[in-house]
Every structure is written in C-alpha cells, then in structure tokens.
Amino acid sequence: MNVNVQFREDGDTLLGYIEGEIDTYTAPILRDELEMIRLSEGLSVELDLSNVNYMDSTGLGVFVAFYKKIVKENASLKLVNLSSRLTRLFEITGLSELMEIGEGGATNARI
C-alpha cells in the first residue's frame, strides 16, 4: 500500500495526480508532498483523485489541512475525478459544500 503524487504545471494551474490508498500510514506521505507545493496568490491547484481507491478520515484530514492553507494564501483548490465512494465521503462530511469538487479535464493523459 502506498500513495504517489505527480505534479505538472500548466500556466497558472498546478495539476496533481494522486494514486494509491490514503490511510493512517500513507497520509503523512501525501501531506509532505502537498506541503512542498509553493503556493502563491492566484495559483489554482487541481488534484486528480481518479486513481485513489481508498481514503479514510486521516486522508480527509490531509485535504482539509491543505484546503485551509490554500484559502490562507488566496490560491484555489479543485478536486477532480472522484470515485463514487470518495464522492460520498466528501458529501457525508459536508466537505463537498466547502471545497470545489468536479470533473477534471483530460489532465491525466497529459501527465
């Protein structure tokens, strides 16, 4: 079990492609990866979760902390291509009302 993140810049947008399972053990890896992003005003970060097949509440915590940092820096965050299981997780927790969640462009193909 592991989690892997790859980034690619596209103008003002930073595309992140996350792959794997996000649980108590892998969440710190993801957190470190996301913390390394140099946020600046106006930057939009789009994270593709199509290959995240499991996430527990610790994983949610990583996204919540990252979202708070994004808001503080006046950047923006969008989570795209969530499985129905993940979509439900974000809905139950009320996070889908807070964060932008949607369909991604053909981001994966270009990474």
């Binding site: 509440s57 919540v64 708070k68 927790t93 009320g94 009302e97 807070l98």
Partner: protein, 331 residues
C-alpha cells in the same frame, strides 16, 4: 566471574566425558544464570575457550585463533542484544503509561446508558486499539429530555483520545439535555476549531429526544447518516444532512430536523467504523445493518446493538479496522 569460569569448566568437561542429556540440561540452565549475571555473549565464548585450553593442552593454535575471531565478532552481537533489551524496557514503560492513560480515559468518558420509561436505548462502543476515538455522551433531564451525542474523532489511538476529552468537556459545559441540537453543534464547532490542528476534526451526530412528545430532533456534523426505521411504512430512511465536520470553519452553521417516533420505530446512530469495509467494496454495509436490525427488531435496543456488532465482526473476519460504535433508540 572466576566462580562462573570454574563451574562452566566442570559442566563442559562432564559433558565431553559422557555426552549425557543431563549434563546438557545443566549447561542450559547454567547459561540462564549467566544471562542474569549480565555475562555477554563474547565473555561466554572466552570462558569456553579458556576452559577448553585448561582441559586439553594439545589444542592447535589455529583453533584458538578461530575462537579469538569469534569473540571479536560476538562483541557486536552483544551490543545489538543490549540495544534490543533497552528497547524492550522502553516498550514496557510505554505499555504501562498506555494502560494508565486508558484507565484515565475510561474514567473521564464514563457515561451510563440512561433508561427512561418510554423509550429503549442500547449502545455498544468498542475501540480498535486501547484508546477509543469514538465517544457516546448521554444527558437525561428527569423524564423530560434525553440527549445523545455520538462522536468520532479523526484518526485512532492516543491523538484521537486526547481530542475526545475536549469534546466531552464541551458537551458537559452545555449542561442541559434540552439544548437545540443545531446550537450544540455550533458551540462545539467553535471550541474545537480554536483548539485543534488543521488536519484534525470531529464528526458528531446529536439527538435530542422529547420524552413527553416523542419528538426526536437531530443534527449532524459530517457524521455517517443515521438510519430511521418507520414501522408504519415498514421502511428505512437515511437521516442525511450536509453539516460540515466540526473543527474546520469557525462560522459553520448547522440545521436540525424533527421526526416523531411511534411504537415500533427506531433510530440507529453509528460511526464510520461500522460501515467502512475497506477491502470489500462490494459489501453494502448499510443494507446489511438494515436487514439485521429488521430481523431483530423484536429484541431490546441493547440486544440489537450486540447482534449488529457480532454479525459485522464476522463479516470483517474478526479484524475490525476502526473504532466501532452503535447506538439504538427504540420506541
């Protein structure tokens, strides 16, 4: 040391003389005593070498060099063993501390299941590890109101347990069971938001039950939706809300809704440890819980909780992955 040397030489020469099982046994017991006296592995070999030299005076130099080599190598082995023993001692220390912390948590979070006359309440809460990240808080105002808060702190173990104490004191300060659930969530949210790390949060389902009118008012903050069974229509309803998890936005608002419980109706409140089947996506756990509850609705609320726990544990092959809590309120 000199005494050990002499004894070892005696045991060794006895063994070499007749190679009997009983001498071997004496030797095995003797090594235990050497361990107790902190004799290191390389010292044992050195004792062995010297004893052999004393018993035989024709041992070739090359064999003795071989022993010298082994003694040097075993120095490192001995160091590693010492390190390992130090770790074991440290681990034991942590285990004792953990045990004390668990006792403190149990005392802090102790809460009796109330038994009002007009409604039946059952609960089961089983921690995955020693300390529980789930917590159920009951309040009961003499036959007027009863309230239940079912909470789940993100994560497991000690960090979750520490955060849970804060939730408990937040709930305690609210004091009365008649507070509006949405108000309770807003107050708790502000307390938690101020005090915890950015990646921590709490999900909570708060239910207030009016024991005179049988109106159940509920509000939820990012919690697994409760199940409401209505006897009249013989169907289940999800008590869904989009309330945000506690501890994320200081100004978060919560709504509350009412349902009236009639005879035969019940509500099941649970944490995500009950519904989450990580490696078996095909399992519709909520459907299974509905079926179990329906088939056992003639039992008491407490018995229903226990059936659900034991059946789901079987489905998990007895390896639960999260703290597990179910509360049932049954009219």
């Amino acid at each position: 040391m000199e005494q050990i040397r002499k004894q070892y030489k005696k045991i060794l020469s006895d063994y070499i003389g007749n190679q009997s099982e009983s001498d071997l046994y004496i030797g095995q017991n003797f090594i235990k005593r050497m361990i107790q006296k902190n004799v290191t592995p390389e010292e044992v070999i050195s004792i062995h070498k010297r004893a052999l030299e004393e018993i035989y005076d024709d041992i070739p130099e090359s064999v003795l060099h071989g022993y010298d080599f082994l003694i040097e190598v075993m120095v490192h082995f001995g160091l590693k063993v010492q390190e390992h023993q130090a770790l074991l001692a440290k681990q034991e220390e942590l285990r004792i501390e953990m045990e004390i912390a668990t006792k403190i948590q149990n005392l802090l979070l102790e809460n009796e299941i109330p038994s009002p006359s007009c409604v039946d309440i059952g609960m089961i809460s089983v921690p995955l590890r020693k300390m529980n990240g789930d917590y159920v808080h009951f309040m009961h105002d003499d036959e007027r109101y009863l309230s239940v808060a079912v909470t789940d702190v993100v994560g497991k173990g000690v960090p979750a347990a520490l955060c849970m104490s804060m939730v408990k004191y937040g709930l305690d300060t609210l004091e009365y069971a008649n507070s509006n659930p949405s108000y309770v969530l807003e107050v708790l949210n502000r307390i938690i938001e101020k005090s915890i790390d950015d990646s921590m949060f709490v999900s909570l389902c708060y239910i207030r039950y009016n024991l005179q009118t049988n109106v159940l008012t509920w509000s939820s903050a990012g919690h697994e939706p409760s199940l409401y069974y209505e006897e009249k229509s013989q169907s289940f309803h999800d008590l869904e809300s989009k309330g945000l998890l506690l501890g994320i936005l200081p100004e978060a608002k919560y709504t509350q809704q009412d349902i009236e419980l009639n005879s035969g109706d019940f509500v099941i409140i649970m944490t995500d440890g009950v519904t989450d089947f990580r490696n078996r996506e095909e399992i519709d756990s909520r459907q299974i819980i509905k079926e179990l509850a329906l088939a056992n609705r003639h039992l008491t609320a407490q018995e229903m909780c226990e059936v659900i726990y034991s059946e789901l544990q079987k489905l998990h092959d007895f390896k639960l992955e999260d703290d597990f809590t179910v509360v049932i309120i049954k009219k």
